[in-house]
Amino acid sequence: MSSRSKSLFLVLIAAAWSAAAQQPSCEGANAAAVKVVLDGCGGFEPEGRFTVEYGTEPITVDPKTGYWLWTAPNDDMKFKIGTRPLHIPPESIPRALAKCKTTASAVRDGACMAVYVVKCEPLWFVKVGMVPKGDPPSLTYERRGNARTIDACPREDPPLGPGQVNLANSESLLVKIDRPKCQIPLGRNSFPRGREELTLADVPVNAVSEGAAIAQSTANDEVAKKALQKKVKEMRFSTKE
């Protein structure tokens, strides 16, 4: 490197360091703005103010202004970006599943502005209805996510028996039946375009036979489906709301 290049390099480093030093810091301030950005909520538009928990402190965010002004409740409490994760209670966004805890990003929106980009997924709903013939089989549900599913806080458990289950966009549902021991997997693509309701004839029924030398076979599934059809007059799976 020539001496001229070296000088230019040093000048650039000095300029960058100087610019960083001039960036106003919020460390130790006792007032700051909290901005919440909802990302991927599928057109979710909050109708009014909604509550978030800033650390353990509940605060109300006005979606019109898009931020909330935090003021330290006492002189000892100072603002420090990144120390307080944001949590949105599930009931605040009824039609989306939000990430459980989000940490603030850097202060690029301005001094003392903690920006929380909360990732969320739109929810969809499956309503399971059943008309049994006699002693009804018990129904339980399991939500099954994948790598794309939002890391959400513990949610309300699905109902026991017929009812409605909410699912994130990337989740599928396993309807578990005790007698006969089988399960019905349902996902968004289980409902072909234009169909919002399925019957037992339309869905796959997988026999659960862990205590068998050959666990899976189409024949086993056929038995399970037939046995289930003998127990119920009707079983419907609906995404209609």
């Binding site: 068998a212 076979s217 046995a227």
Partner: protein, 288 residues
């Protein structure tokens, strides 16, 4: 240590003819308890029969480089396979009809009829099965100048069992699959024995059960003038169940490795076929 050796013997040395079962042949094992059968305490025999069950399925498509038993035929036949099964208590009966349609220059049987009778039992609360098979095939070599019998037959036994190993083997604490022995009559006083083990991997499902991925590994040996070891074969099948019409679209790939003998040692069998259940009937609770 003994268990580890046993596992090694089963999975590798247990010699191996290629897989007994055709690339398109479905598994028909049904845990009798799923039909309401109640076994006796010792696992042999039943206290209650549960519900009778009948199942008829049809499979049709094409196989490329078809492996007929342990032989590579290099034929690309079309086939139709009709399988019917009847289950009652701890027993099962199968009748299978298989029709092949191939170039006349190839030497594969054009027609096969298979009858099977199965007996289920419980071993350590695991449903297991012994299946006896008798199959009659039209002899593909019967039209030559040398006089040969028009039909050939074979018979054998298959056991579907789960084997549990002690803990030190870790993930191999159980293996499930089938041990198969078949004897084929070639001519008077001449028989060929085939011995194989077929290990089935657990099914994987995608697209909410519409896409089913199955794999199995077979190992075996054949005895004609002496034991010939060791053929190995894997079968990888992807099945997509078309909604509404409930037709399965299947694609299967079965590489086979046969180190003994001359000629090509590896073969790559491929099958494309459709399947459909044409009858599925579950009776009422039957009394013994």
């Amino acid at each position: 240590m003994r268990a580890a050796l046993l596992a090694l013997v089963i999975l590798t040395a247990a010699v191996a003819a290629a897989q007994e079962i055709d690339i398109f042949d479905p598994t028909d094992f049904v845990d009798p308890r799923a039909r309401g059968t109640v076994f006796q305490k010792d696992g042999l025999g039943v206290e209650e029969n549960g519900m009778n069950f009948a199942l008829v399925r049809v499979y049709g498509g094409r196989v490329f480089d078809y492996q007929w038993r342990n032989t590579s035929t290099e034929a690309n036949p079309y086939f139709v396979n009709l399988t019917s099964s009847f289950y009652r208590g701890d027993r099962q009966f199968n009748l299978k009809l298989t029709k092949f349609s191939a170039d006349s220059a190839t030497s594969i049987p054009t027609l096969r009829t298979t009858f099977q009778a199965g007996q289920y039992f419980l071993a350590s609360n695991i449903a297991s099965r012994v299946l006896a098979t008798v199959a009659v095939e039209r002899n593909p070599y019967s039209s030559g100048e040398i006089h040969r019998e028009r039909y050939q037959y074979e018979f054998g036994l298959q056991t579907d069992v789960e084997i549990r190993f002690p803990k030190p083997i870790g993930s191999l604490d159980h293996i499930d699959g089938s041990f198969i022995w078949m004897r084929r009559r070639i001519s008077e006083h001449t028989y060929v024995d085939r011995l194989s083990y077929l290990y089935r991997f657990r099914e994987r499902q995608r697209s909410n059960g519409r896409l089913q991925l199955n794999a199995s590994l077979g190992f075996g040996a054949e005895r004609a003038n002496g034991w010939q070891c060791c053929l190995a074969r894997g079968v990888f099948t992807a099945t997509y169940i078309v909604p509404r019409i409930h037709v399965g679209v299947n694609a299967a790939f079965a590489p086979t490795f046969s180190p003994a003998g001359g000629g090509r040692r590896s073969h790559h069998e491929v099958a494309i076929y459709l399947d459909r259940t044409v009858l599925s009937w579950l009776g009422d609770i039957a009394t013994k």
